[in-house]
Amino acid sequence: MQQTGELQLVGVSKRFGEVVAVDAVDLTIPGGSYCCLLGPSGCGKTTLLRIIAGHEMPSAGDVLIDGESVIGMPARSRPTAMMFQSYALFPHLNCLDNVAFSLRMRGMPKIRRRERAQQILDFVRMGGFAHRMPAQISGGEQQRIALARALITEPKVVLLDEPLSALDEFFRVQMRVELRAMQQELAITFIHVTHTNTEAIATSDLVVVMDHGVIVQVDSPIQVYDKPRSSYVARFVGGHNVFFGRVVESKKEGDLIELSNGERLWAPPGPVSTDRRRSFAVRKDCMTVSRASDEPAKQWEPFHKVEGVVHAIEYEGTRFKVSVILNKEEMIVALMTHRDFMASGIDQGDPVVAWWSPEDVHVLLED
């Protein structure tokens, strides 16, 4: 079966006066996929969503859904449905009529539209809330109603603007699982805007990382987390320690890089030549921290370690988060398993060595 709901953005830009919110974005999202737009606030992700929905006109570029341009089409005629960050339920209508609103606008008779709305309410597991007013239900319940209102139009693309940001931790995790399950059941495209990396990685098929109105990486969640393209992505997605320094020696098999504290580290060949600055990354959970005086620490290889002092230790239940200060400004974080941490015997304030294997060094293309 031909999957519908393919979204294509071609050179989409949006300027607000002097400010460029979205800068010549090209992106193809396959039909029936769950895509997260990830980036800090102000990176243009919400503007992009609003352009797709038709609530904002792009200054340039084209938006195509299943190969057809929707530019110039008003929001109400587009095969998209948006779920707003504030949910934006109609405060004067009960939940059933909120959901039935779009059918009412199309002139569907009352009995039929209420019947259909009830089905959708059941689908989002809010069947018992039909006659409640929005002000009488909780934030999480309002969100389900907002989702039901978006789904009733049978859109090809569902646009979710920070859908989980107003929920507390427990409901956030529960809801993101449900959103994913609903998307798979309906087999339509979901585009989910978020600034939370864990949310993007946990739910989506495709993660689009944005910065200052441009897309910096489009990949599967695994690729984005494990193989970030740039130091920006590595820092924002948060799974890596990023090292930044000057190339002092460049060979065929790799570069020797000097950090600001004078320490020299090895990385595979990178994008720049000797004397230029470059960066690389090591996953936080691929780092081991040992006491500087420890004998077994000998296993570390030259140029694959840094020295520092333990700044803080956080026990996260499944693992330990050890922060190590290298010099005044720089800090790295190692995530250690319970067993490794207990074996290391390190404590706050200890002089330590953080080390890793050569194959864990990931080359970053500097932006």
Partner: protein
């Protein structure tokens, strides 16, 4: 020594605390209660009492008689007065509600910038820096037979003879009422409309509503309280007006209240008081009927 068990001792203390709390809150409410009683309750009671008194040319004769009310209810003049006032109220209500809604819509959804909208709204209040009487009278030189407007039309060659219906007519009454009462209608509607979340409007568009449907199904229902509040103001102002009808019809017609003022002028206090009581009852009934349908208090508090 305390012979009571500790439990009942606690209960006694609770009772005292509750009683004290009640006393404090009564004390806090007292100033307003006293003011309301002295300047509202008492005069109203006097008016009601006088309504049941007899009178002659020399003044009020203390008595208990229903004659004043009987004469009022059986007199055709009363019905004519009310019919006219209600006709004015209806026409003016319709015009001000349309004006108030349209201007609010413009301020909220076209101007968008809250400060600019507020500045424009304040501009609308400038005419209200002068008294209502002066603003009413100011229409006379404009609308008169040899007034500015007729003069202008003749100069432009649109008419040959001055239009007579402009002044001392129902038209003149309605135009000055509209001038007086558009703002009291506008402000509550504008207030309600400013509280509508912009995203709710977008959500309606997203759900397939066109501009007319957005207004009919979202904006109007969400402004309902403002519209009702404005309507109550306009209708009670018009039913309570004693000046505009008399001046703008050149004394041809009277309003309910101006008829009372004639009676007061002739020292006929009891029938005037009776008429006042009937008017108050009618207005209270109307307002309570409307507030039963719409929660006005909510829109005042928000």
């Amino acid at each position: 020594m305390n012979s009571l068990p500790p439990d009942s001792d606690q209960k006694a203390q609770d009772v005292i605390a509750v009683a004290r709390g009640r006393l404090v809150s009564r004390f806090q409410a007292a100033p307003l209660a006293i003011v309301l009683f002295l300047f509202f309750g008492l005069p109203l009671a006097v008016v009601v009492a006088i309504g049941f008194c007899d009178f002659d040319l020399s003044g009020i004769i203390p008595d208990f008689t229903l004659t004043n009310f009987q004469e009022l209810i059986t007199s055709g003049t009363t019905y004519a007065l009310y019919a006219r006032s209600i006709m004015y109220a209806g026409v003016v209500w319709l015009i001000t509600v349309i004006l108030g809604f349209t201007i609010s819509y413009f301020l909220v959804f076209y101007v968008r910038n809250f400060l600019v909208a507020l500045a424009l709204l304040l501009l609308c209040t400038i005419p209200f820096w002068t008294s209502a009487v002066i603003r009413t009278i100011a229409w006379i030189p404009f609308l008169g037979k040899n007034g500015l407007f007729n003069h202008l039309l003749i100069q432009m060659g649109l008419i040959n003879n001055p239009l007579e219906f402009l002044l001392f007519s129902n038209f003149a009454v309605i135009i000055s009422y509209v001038h007086l009462f558009t703002l009291p209608m506008l402000v509550p509607i504008c207030n309600a409309m400013f509280q509508i979340d912009q995203e709710v409007i977008e959500a309606a568009r997203d759900a397939g509503a066109n501009s007319v449907q957005v207004i009919a199904h979202v904006v109007i229902p969400l402004c309902k309280n403002g519209i009702v509040l404005g309507s109550i103001l306009v209708v009670t102002f018009i039913l309570g007006d004693f000046f505009t009808v008399r001046i703008m019809t050149g004394g041809k017609y009277a309003s309910v209240v101006s008829a009372m003022s004639y009676e007061i002028g002739y020292m006929q206090y009891p029938p005037a008081a009776a008429a006042a009581v009937v008017l108050i009852i009618i207005v209270v009934l109307m307002v309570s009927l409307v507030t039963r349908m719409v929660d006005v208090q909510k829109s005042l508090v928000e």
